[in-house]
């Protein structure tokens, strides 16, 4: 349990900052962009944790979790960042029901701050608890004693209630003692009553004293968990991200690179030999697989992440300035900053009239969206909004870092079409992609990087043999929030059969109910009417024989190393075969850290674990998003392995044409209603 060794010889934690100076401390007092981003992301997470804690009445667990999250932030950033983050979280806490949640979030930030500071300084448990006692406890004690001395009537009422409760407990103990025939339990009750009486009489001593003991326990637990977490987070992410360098006043085009190497700090990176000449109004496509260095190139052009181009490539990126460089990245939900569409366009460019904003929104096909909430937009709409917000700065150069990779085919087409039209505004565009169908007809403005060839071994099995029904939904209705004014029917009378060794493709647009169907089939959502039957029996909840792999694999893969993750799914000795099946058979892959892997590789580690678990049914939720050609091929082979083991596989996807030679059944969902497009050859 507790680490009893407080000696000075133990390794200091964390490795990225053995002394305070090594933490990225910007010169100015103001927070930088990356600090503000970290502060707000942590505020959002702790707020959501507090909300869930209230919802499922597990407040203490989530309170410690929030403290740990703040502690990790404090271990990586300055105290100022924690203060602002805690303030933001507590401000949102107003909506969770007034003063209680605000106080909880402020307390979590306070003790997270002290715990994280101890981590940052590499202190041991003893000093960490000491700091919490020295800094956190006086604040809490002063606030409590202050409030209790002003609110005399509230204090008296509360103390009366406490005395009554303890009196009730005492009477219960006496009754129990009589029942047992007088074993002396009543003395315990007397002791309890008299100590509580003392505490109530001398409340101004007793309350802070009790809080000191609680602080010690709380600080000990928070430090213990935060140390584990901060170490693993540090291994996963490395040092905190740094801010954009000042890279000159621009203009960013013309940009000229000839056999250039990208620099990180002053060191060259793997990305070298780049030839790229961009002038105004051009549309460049950079084609390469995942991991080829496309993002590195674009971030160097922008001057982000301490990356830079060789001297003299351009007059400077002028990132974010009027007439400078703009950037749209891959994940749609990270490209938009404001909760309202119009505010996002206005962000940082104050002198825009309502007409200017409307004009920009119309140009990106979002006319009339000004007051909509950004959280309700689809991926394609978000990316078009991000491009619109970039246009508000009339950029000379727009960098599109795989901005189409995570979108469905319709959204991808719209965004790509919009990017191509930007030349008409005089903006040069550099668009990176791994999709060959986004190549223009002429090769003039195309740069190819990092091509490679993939070898795969396909299992040989007759995947076309007709199978028995494993999972069946019978007249399935699902109503979200039934009985409340927000009730919404997500599924209507859905009948679907999944057969062993067969592949079912479930397609449908955003919000059609296909994810609800997937979650219901694995028992995560209860059917309002009808049933999900596994081998003919109704399912009442999640079942180990039915597995699901989510798109965002990192949230599902919980262990830090590949081998541990696979063994956490099923008790297997040799993980070699399943790793080979998913194409992750490089030497010593089992000992690799999950967070070193790409998103696609994490998805396949999850599949390797599930493969060794041998479920009867496997459901894959959007497994193709963001995968390049190689990733798609690997996924296809992994699916073939499942089919060869007679698992019934269902894939929820936007792409109806993927692996059509493997598909037995194709169904489509529109507004919660299922239609069978193509019964498989097995029928």
């Amino acid at each position: 349990m507790a680490d009893p060794d407080f000696s000075k010889n133990r390794p200091r934690f964390p490795p990225f900052s053995t002394d305070d100076q090594q933490v990225t401390v910007p010169r100015s007092r103001e927070l930088t962009a990356t600090e503000v981003a970290d502060a707000s992301a942590v505020a959002a997470l702790t707020f959501a944790l507090a909300g869930i804690g209230r919802l499922i009445a597990a407040g203490t667990f989530f309170q410690v979790l929030s403290t740990v999250v703040f502690a990790v932030l404090a271990a990586r950033r300055r105290t100022r960042v924690i203060v602002v983050s805690g303030w933001a979280a507590a401000s949102m806490g107003v909506l969770l029901g007034g003063i209680g949640p605000v106080g909880q979030l402020a307390t979590a930030a306070l003790f997270g701050g002290t715990t994280g500071t101890a981590l940052r300084r590499g202190w041991g448990t003893f000093r960490a608890i000491g700091l919490s006692l020295l800094v956190g406890w006086p604040v809490i004690a002063a606030v409590t004693v202050g409030m209790l001395s002003i609110m005399t009537r509230l204090r008296e009422l509360q103390f009366e209630n406490v005395a009554n409760l303890v009196g009730g407990v005492d009477r219960f103990i006496v009754w129990l003692d009589n029942l047992l025939g007088g074993v002396g339990l009543d003395r315990v009750g007397d002791g309890l009553v008299s100590s509580v009486d003392w505490g109530i009489t001398y409340w101004y001593i007793a309350t802070p004293l009790a809080q000191a003991f609680i602080t010690i326990g709380y600080a000990w637990l928070a430090f213990r968990v935060a140390r584990m977490v901060a170490k693993r987070v540090d291994n996963a992410l490395g040092a905190p991200s740094v801010d954009a360098r000042a890279t000159g006043e621009g203009p960013p085009v013309p940009l000229s690179l000839s056999q250039a190497s990208i620099l990180r700090g002053d060191e060259p990176t793997d990305v070298s030999g780049v030839d790229l000449d961009v002038s105004a109004g051009q549309f460049w496509t950079v084609l390469g697989p995942n991991g080829a260095g496309k993002s590195t190139l674009l971030h160097a052009i922008a001057g982000l992440d301490d990356l830079s181009l060789p001297e003299g490539a351009s007059e400077g990126s002028a990132l974010g300035h009027l007439g400078g460089t703009a950037l749209v990245g891959q994940r749609p939900d990270s490209q938009v900053l404001a909760p309202r569409v119009g505010d996002d366009v206005r962000w940082g460019v104050d002198d825009q009239s309502d007409d200017d904003v409307a004009e920009i929104l119309a140009a990106v096909g979002l006319a009339g969206f000004e007051h909509r909430e950004t959280s309700a937009l689809s991926g394609g709409e978000l990316q078009r909004l991000a491009i619109g917000s970039a246009l508000a700065r009339r950029p000379a150069l727009l960098l599109s870092d795989e901005s189409t990779a995570m979108l469905d085919p319709a959204g991808r087409k719209q965004v790509h079409g919009l990017l191509e039209r930007l030349a008409d505004f005089g903006t040069a565009v550099v668009h990176t992609t791994h999709l060959t169908d986004e190549l223009p007809s002429s090769e003039d403005e195309v740069l190819r990087i990092g091509q490679r060839r993939t070898m795969v071994v396909v299992p040989d099995a007759d995947s076309r043999k007709p199978g028995d029904v494993v999972l069946r939904t019978r007249s399935l209705d699902v109503v979200h929030d039934a009985g409340s004014p927000w009730a919404a029917q997500a599924l209507h009378d859905v009948d679907l059969e999944l057969r062993e060794g067969e592949l079912t493709l479930i397609t449908g647009s955003n919000g059609s109910g296909k994810s609800t169907l997937a979650w219901t089939m694995v028992g995560l959502i209860k059917a309002t009417r009808g049933a999900v039957e596994l081998h003919g029996e109704s399912m009442t909840g999640p079942d180990p024989r039915v597995a699901i792999a989510f798109q965002h694999a990192r949230l599902q893969v919980l262990r830090s190393r590949v081998i541990d993750e696979i063994r956490a799914q099923a008790d297997v000795e040799d993980v070699g075969p399943v790793l080979r099946a998913v194409g992750l058979d490089q030497p010593n892959f089992g000992t690799r850290r999950i967070d070193e892997l790409s998103g696609g590789e994490q998805r396949r580690v999850l599949l390797a674990g599930l493969l060794s678990r041998r479920p009867d049914v496997l459901i894959l939720d959007e497994p193709l998003a963001g995968l390049d050609d190689e990733g798609r091929l690997r996924l296809r082979v992994a699916v073939q392995h499942f089919l060869a083991r007679r698992t019934a596989v269902a894939i929820v996807t936007h792409e109806p044409d993927w692996a059509s030679d493997l598909v037995h059944q194709r169904v489509h969902i529109t507004d919660g209603r299922l239609s069978v497009l193509e019964p498989g050859p097995a029928r």
């Binding site: 930088t32 997470l45 009445a57 104050d350 950004t374």
Partner: protein, 249 residues
């Protein structure tokens, strides 16, 4: 987040049209005054005002969440214990004073919860955030970094639905795991925290780049809501309630 907490229900009522900042100031002011007196009269007045606001906001009763059974059990147990331990006149051996005291506190606590829920049904999170930023703006003079604070709060509000989805996913992923992990609660907590924090910082690195590509940390678009008659009425009501509570106890 699903469920009936934190869920906006639009009926376009005067309560919905109030400036969010009015509500943010109203609730702690009135709540603290009632807590100061904590008499049946003050709490009764507070509940009366709450019900009037509920009717004014034209909310259907279906918005009210059903408390979990565990809560009822806890309430019953504490009422029973408190009335066993209390003094004064008794009823079947249960102290009426003890029962009244604990009931008085619960009536107050639940009133505050109900006000909090009403805030959620009638106010959007981004309106609360921008109004709080606006309320803090004058504090620039005493050296508070209000620009960074406002930017942080605005981006945080934007990130809440994304983070809530991730939380839902993490919880779901644990439920569908085949083998139940042989770990204690702290290790499980650490696993969950690592997943969430890594994902959060990955996103914030992206958001940081987006912010840099918008010219760095600047004031987000500001709250321009104009105070109207409803806000004046709300402030007047708050004053009246506070005065009555203080004078008549």
């Amino acid at each position: 987040m699903n469920g009936r907490m934190l869920r906006y229900y639009d009926s376009g009522s005067p309560i919905h049209r109030l400036w969010a900042g009015t509500k943010v100031l109203w609730l702690p002011a009135v709540g603290t005054t009632i807590a100061f007196q904590i008499s049946w009269f003050a709490i009764g007045l507070g509940w009366f005002a709450a019900l009037v606001i509920f009717l004014l906001a034209r909310l259907p009763t279906g918005v009210i969440p059903r408390p979990p059974k565990l809560l009822w059990i806890a309430v019953l147990a504490s009422v029973l214990l408190a009335s066993l331990g209390g003094d004064g006149p008794t009823f079947y051996g249960l102290s009426l004073d003890g029962m009244a005291s604990i009931a008085r506190f619960m009536a107050f606590a639940w009133m505050m919860v109900f006000y909090g829920l009403m805030m959620g049904w009638t106010t959007k999170l981004d309106e609360i955030a921008s109004s709080i930023s606006r309320l803090f703006r004058p504090l620039r003079r005493i050296g508070l970094p209000v620009t960074e604070m406002a930017a942080t709060l605005t981006i945080a509000v934007r990130a809440v639905p994304l983070v809530a989805d991730e939380l839902r996913l993490v919880i779901a992923a644990r439920r569908v795991r085949g083998v139940q992990p042989q770990q204690d609660l702290t290790e499980q907590g650490a696993d969950i925290a690592v997943s969430l924090v890594v994902s959060t910082f990955r996103r914030s690195a992206d958001l940081g780049n987006t912010l840099a590509a918008r010219g760095g940390v600047t004031d987000p678009p500001q709250d321009v809501h104009r105070l109207a008659v409803v806000d004046a009425a709300a402030f007047a009501t708050a004053m009246a309630i506070m005065a009555v509570v203080i004078v008549f106890g």
